[in-house]
């Protein structure tokens, strides 16, 4: 909850005015019955028509005040609640942008998405409710107690019994409802999970003809969820009737006390007094109900607020160097010095003792089986992760000694998963540029990436819309556009993480040729599965279980490295091997 308070502080001025307007409208509402009491006790018995008009005038002023204060309250409460929501969302998004890969993995991307949208919306809704109800309630309760004690202390004493009873009911219902609603939330996650899976797996589901199985799978959670929802609603529905019974008993008790006191002649009340006290006590009970609603919503909002807080207060593991260095003279030198990396919580290091050097114009290839740590190695270059031991040096400086943006401006990275963003082809490629690239630069990058034909074949050419995730392009096209995006950066070091996998051999080949031309002065690091892609590399690292088991050129490795030979054999025919 502390996050919420911190955010509200930014709206201090509005909050003060809001409180004033709430006090204003509450007072107006509560003063109205005192006028009725005056009418009943004085004007009517005294048959004083003049005072009736006077009182009516006062009441009209109170009503006007009530409406005006209400409008101000509406304006300010909405502004604060929505404003806090907006600011938290912005902070959260900004925070996530700066998080490292490790933290993103820890939270998982889908959880971060829910936190940014769902959880903050939850906080926002709760706040909007709070600013109306939770502010009114204490004011109403305090004024109510004051007025009723002022009118008649002995009748007010009834409150000493009915408020605790009400509190017990509220707490009892809350005790059952709150844990239940937490469980329901988890069930809802289950339902969403299954629907998500069905959406992503349509092809597979239909191919296997398991529609009936899927329907049953969904029905199980649906039945479960419906049942629990019903249970929760049944319990919360108990709340209002219970309150009515308490209210009725309270009114009855006040009347009875008044009657008893009259009999004992200890204190004689006027009818107006009794009616006023009933009215005040109603206000107090309304206040209790308001607080209860807030109280019932509190756990859910608190959970959401905490989930938001976890993100907002998580510490970024990958930080800019405090004393940043840069080497302007050296360009494109990359060195791994005894690098070992272990994922957080893992027993075994993902890569062990990796050392190699690469100079401008050279191509270093990394090959090996699935899950052997190839991607891990290259992820250390732009500091997606930091080494556990050893050093990664770019241009002779430890990557951890750079400012992050300086380091990353040197690197053109093409990730394994070809991700494009909503926008146009142009905007997606320009995304890669260190500065805003010119049209010519973009076109050149697209030509090099063998994408010119399919881009210009589109009606809108470079302005062709790219839909979310680039889903209107084929896998191969996406990969090529991602390559173009890296080219436009004109980096010192190119890193390709299995970035040619969706291309057919023909395209793969021409692309690499064009790329070679373009990257003459740059260092290139390629992770690949296909031998063809890397055969001519200056240096091939063969990775097995996180360790380098062979390093050399294609020819050398065929002679010296058993694993490399096996890989080659599985992909190339006898004649190709011997060529």
């Amino acid at each position: 909850m502390s996050v919420i308070f911190k955010e509200i502080k930014e709206f201090k001025k509005q909050l003060i005015f809001l409180i004033l307007s709430v006090i204003g409208s509450t007072l107006c509402i509560m003063l109205l019955p005192t006028r009725l009491q005056k009418l009943i006790d004085y004007s009517i018995p005294g048959k004083d028509v003049g005072s009736v008009w006077l009182t009516t005038g006062t009441m009209l002023i109170l009503v006007t005040g009530l409406i005006l204060c209400g409008i101000v309250t509406a304006k300010l409460s909405s502004l604060i609640a929505m404003g806090v929501g907006r600011n938290m969302r912005a902070k959260m998004f900004n925070k996530v942008q700066g998080l490292s890969r490790e933290e993103i993995d820890k939270f998982t991307a889908s959880s971060l998405i829910t936190r940014t949208n769902g959880d903050i919306n939850q906080v926002q809704t709760f706040l909007s409710l709070c600013l109306n109800l939770a502010l009114v309630a204490p004011i109403m309760a305090i004024v109510g107690v004051a007025l009723s004690v002022h009118t008649s202390p002995s009748l007010s004493a009834v409150l000493l019994v009915s408020v605790p009873i009400l509190a017990v009911i509220v707490i009892a219902i809350g005790k059952i409802a709150i844990p239940l609603s937490a469980r329901i939330q988890r069930k809802l996650d289950n339902i969403n999970l299954i629907i998500r899976e069905k959406l992503t797996g349509t092809r597979v589901i239909r191919a296997f003809g398991t529609t009936a199985f899927e329907e049953k799978r969904f029905d199980t959670v649906n039945v479960d969820y419906t049942r629990m929802n019903k249970k929760l609603q049944n319990i919360t529905a108990l709340f209002l009737p219970a309150i009515y019974v308490v209210v009725a008993a309270t009114i009855g008790a006040i009347m009875f006390v008044a009657f008893k006191e009259t009999q004992n002649t200890a204190e004689v009340h006027t009818t107006g007094e009794i009616m006023a006290v009933i009215q005040y006590i109603m206000f107090i009970l309304i206040a209790v109900v308001c607080l209860t609603i807030v109280f019932l919503m509190l756990p859910r909002a608190a959970t959401s607020a905490n989930r938001a807080k976890e993100v907002l207060e998580s510490e970024n593991l990958i930080k800019d160097a405090s004393e940043a260095r840069n080497n302007e003279d050296s360009k494109g030198y990359l060195e791994f010095k005894n690098v070992t990396f272990r994922y957080a919580g893992a027993d075994v290091p993902a890569i062990k003792n990796i050392s190699f050097k690469a100079a401008p114009g050279e191509t270093t290839a990394i090959i090996g089986g699935t899950g052997t740590g190839k991607s891990t190695i290259i992820n250390l270059i732009p500091r997606l992760y930091d080494v556990t031991e050893g050093q990664v040096l770019v241009d002779g400086i430890d990557v951890r000694d750079y400012k992050l943006d300086v380091l990353r401006s040197k690197i053109g990275f093409v990730p394994q998963k070809a991700i494009l963003f909503k926008g146009t082809i142009d905007s997606n490629i320009a995304f890669g540029g260190n500065d805003m690239p010119t049209e010519d630069q973009i076109e050149e990058a697209v030509i090099t990436a063998q994408s010119y034909d399919f881009v210009t074949e589109k009606k809108d050419g470079f302005n062709t819309a790219v839909s979310q995730g680039g889903s209107n392009f084929s896998g191969g096209q996406k990969q090529r556009l991602c390559i173009a995006r890296a080219i436009v950066r004109e980096p010192e070091i190119y890193v390709f993480d299995d970035s040619f996998s969706a291309l057919d051999f023909k395209t793969d080949k021409t692309l690499r040729k064009a790329l070679k031309e373009k990257t003459k002065d740059a260092t290139t690091v390629i992770v690949a599965q296909r031998i063809n892609t890397i055969m001519e590399a200056d240096r091939i690292l063969v990775i097995e279980q996180g360790e380098v088991v062979g390093m050399g050129t294609h020819k050398e490795l065929l002679d010296t490295c058993r694993i490399y030979r096996e890989i080659a054999k599985s992909q190339l025919s006898e004649e190709e091997l011997n060529r």
Binding site: V63, I67, M255, I567
Partner: protein, 590 residues
């Protein structure tokens, strides 16, 4: 009052609840009786106040005291009866609405399986997901409240009105004089706020999409150092969302001063006029008290409906989106008299097949080809040549626009889809697995498979080894998207899944492109064994894997241009030969 702009949405929503008419009718009856009790309570309170007034003046006899106590007790009993009956009524409404929402979810789920693949390929899935989860949840949460409160409010208003008229026609007139004005104001506010809420929904959707996109593409943003640019884009949508939601919430919150203002204006007038009438001696004080209470109840009923208006509006627009989804065009219905090949051998015929994803854009013009049982067919071509389209057609994910595809002489459109698809074993590009154990996931290929069969399939797919090393082995639970195992391992499981069914025709769509090459060698052996005696279509980029196919289909831009064995196609020296040679061109140039 304009309750809804779209009566058909409301009607359809109500028809879901209408299925549970029985409990709804009983509930309405109970609420009616409860409302009568609720309305009587202030009357008895008024009587007892009158009696108490007399007692206070000290001139009351036994009778008056007895009456006072009885009235007081009756008042309490009225509230108790009201509480119990309205609670039972509410239980019935809850049960009916929850069942209705359950039905709605089931309808959606059924719809998911009857939509054509085209729908999934052309819709962003975040949007569908939002409809199916958030929108249904909105309905679920508010349906009960809206239905019950409206029933209760309507009865309360009617009965309170009758009671007020009973006490004094003039007071009623003055008490309610402000109501029509307020209703007009409220109607205006609702109309305006619903525009804002629609905008808010729209912007929320936009924001969701943006967040989803850039969170999942976080690496790319980081790698290119574009945090600021992306932040800016977010800020813009966020600000728009703020504006829309701030306007909408402000307008919705205006309902409170509007209804309170009207309520207390009526109260003021009643006090004034009541006092004047009372001075004239035509009304007792107790009745003024009772009247103000009726007025308050009447106003509370109106304002509770009004407070619900935005919620109803939201529910209706949520329902509208859900119904839009339910109204999507479904797949062509199953053949009326489904056929099935008498003897399943695995012969596939393409007879003048014509196809395009869009009506005006023909991709595949005229494909004529017969694949004999047991033949191994390689499908090759540059990226985007339509290889996946071919699979889409054979599996009947899409229907041909002209000609026919026949399996063992039967048009696939004459078969039941499920029967047709059971003929195939398929390994797709995307390795979809669901959250559950590995055992369950492999068993997905054949739901009644025994544990032994599953393990045998896993062994055949070379998946057994890595599964055994996982904690729990076959009972290892995969998370959503199987994110807790490697891509290659996911692929192995999908292969095991396809192998389990032992189908007569195999479809492999770039199946092995993300398995590392050593594992791939093992898989190749397994697949060759599995494909023995079966018809098989293999799409692969590595031409070495399909070189010894019985038949190779070379595709380009949607059409099959060359057909033949490897040697025949090489001799032809066309597109295939070029593609094949390009593999080694690097070397030749050196």
């Amino acid at each position: 009052m304009k309750k809804t702009k779209n009566p058909s949405t409301l009607g359809r929503l109500l028809s879901y609840i209408g299925k549970y008419k029985g409990s709804m009718i009983i509930s309405v009856l109970l609420v009616f009786i409860a409302s009568v009790a609720f309305a009587s309570a202030p009357l008895f309170l008024g009587f007892s106040i009158n009696n108490l007034g007399d007692i206070l003046k000290g001139n009351a006899g036994e009778e008056v005291v007895g009456g006072f106590l009885i009235f007081l007790l009756t008042m309490i009993i009225c509230y108790v009866v009201y509480s119990i009956l309205s609670y039972i009524g509410n239980l019935l409404v809850i049960s009916a609405t929850q069942k209705a929402v359950y039905d709605l979810r089931t309808a959606i789920d059924k719809k998911l399986s009857s939509l054509p693949l085209n729908y999934y390929d052309t819709t962003t899935y975040g949007d569908v997901l939002a409809r199916l989860t958030n929108d249904v949840e909105t309905i679920s949460v508010s349906a009960q409240e809206c239905v019950f409160e409206v029933i209760k409010a309507v009865f309360t208003m009617i009965i309170m009105f009758i009671m007020m008229i009973g006490i004094s026609g003039w007071l009623t007139l003055f008490g309610l004089i402000s109501v029509p004005v307020m209703l007009i104001v409220a109607g205006k506010i609702t109309a305006k706020s619903s525009v804002c809420f629609d905008k808010q929904m729209e912007k929320t959707g936009e924001l969701n999409g943006y967040v989803e996109e850039y969170y999942s593409g976080h690496d790319v943003v980081t790698l290119f150092g574009k945090e600021e640019q992306v932040d800016e884009g977010f800020g813009k949508i966020n600000e728009d969302l703020f504006k829309a939601s701030n306007d909408g919430n402000f307008l919705a919150a205006l309902m409170t001063p509007a209804s309170q203002g009207s309520e207390y204006l009526g109260y003021t007038l009643v006090c004034c006029v009541g006092a004047l009438i009372s001075i004239a001696g035509a009304l007792s004080i107790g009745m003024i008290q009772a009247f103000t209470q009726y007025l308050t109840n009447f106003a509370t009923a109106i304002s509770s409906v009004m407070q619900l208006m935005p919620q109803m509006q939201m529910t209706l627009s949520a329902a509208k989106r859900v119904f839009e989804f339910l109204d999507e065009t479904e797949e062509v219905p199953e053949a009326e008299n489904p056929k099935f090949p008498e003897k399943l051998e695995g012969k596939v015929e393409f007879d003048h097949v014509k196809f395009g994803y869009l009506p005006h854009q023909t991709l595949m013009h005229d494909l004529n080809e017969v694949i004999q049982p047991g033949q191994k067919v390689g499908v090759v071509g540059p990226t985007g040549a339509g290889k996946t389209t071919l699979i889409n057609l054979i599996m009947r994910f899409y229907d041909v626009t002209g000609g026919a595809i026949r399996i063992d002489g039967v048009d696939i459109r004459d078969m039941k889809r499920e029967d047709l698809r059971n003929i195939f074993g398929m390994v797709l590009q995307d390795t979809w697995l669901y959250s559950g154990t590995i055992m369950d996931n492999i068993r997905y290929g054949k739901l009644d498979a025994t544990e032994e069969e599953v393990i045998a399939a896993a062994k055949a797919a070379c998946a057994d080894k890595f599964i055994e090393t996982l904690p729990g082995g076959y009972n290892f639970i995969l998370t959503e998207g199987a994110g807790n195992i490697a891509q290659g391992q996911r692929q192995l499981i999908t292969i095991a899944r396809a192998m389990l069914n032992n189908p007569p025709i195999m479809l492999l769509d770039e199946a092995t492109s993300s398995v590392d090459t050593r594992t791939e060698a093992l898989i190749q052996t397994a697949i060759v064994n599995m494909m023995k005696g079966k018809t098989a279509f293999v799409i692969a980029h590595r031409l070495s894997t399909i070189k010894d196919s019985d038949k190779i289909l070379y595709m380009e831009k949607g059409d099959v241009l060359e057909v033949g064995t490897h040697d025949e196609l090489m001799a032809l020296d066309g597109g295939y030969a070029k593609l094949y040679n390009s593999q080694f061109a690097d070397k030749q140039e050196n």
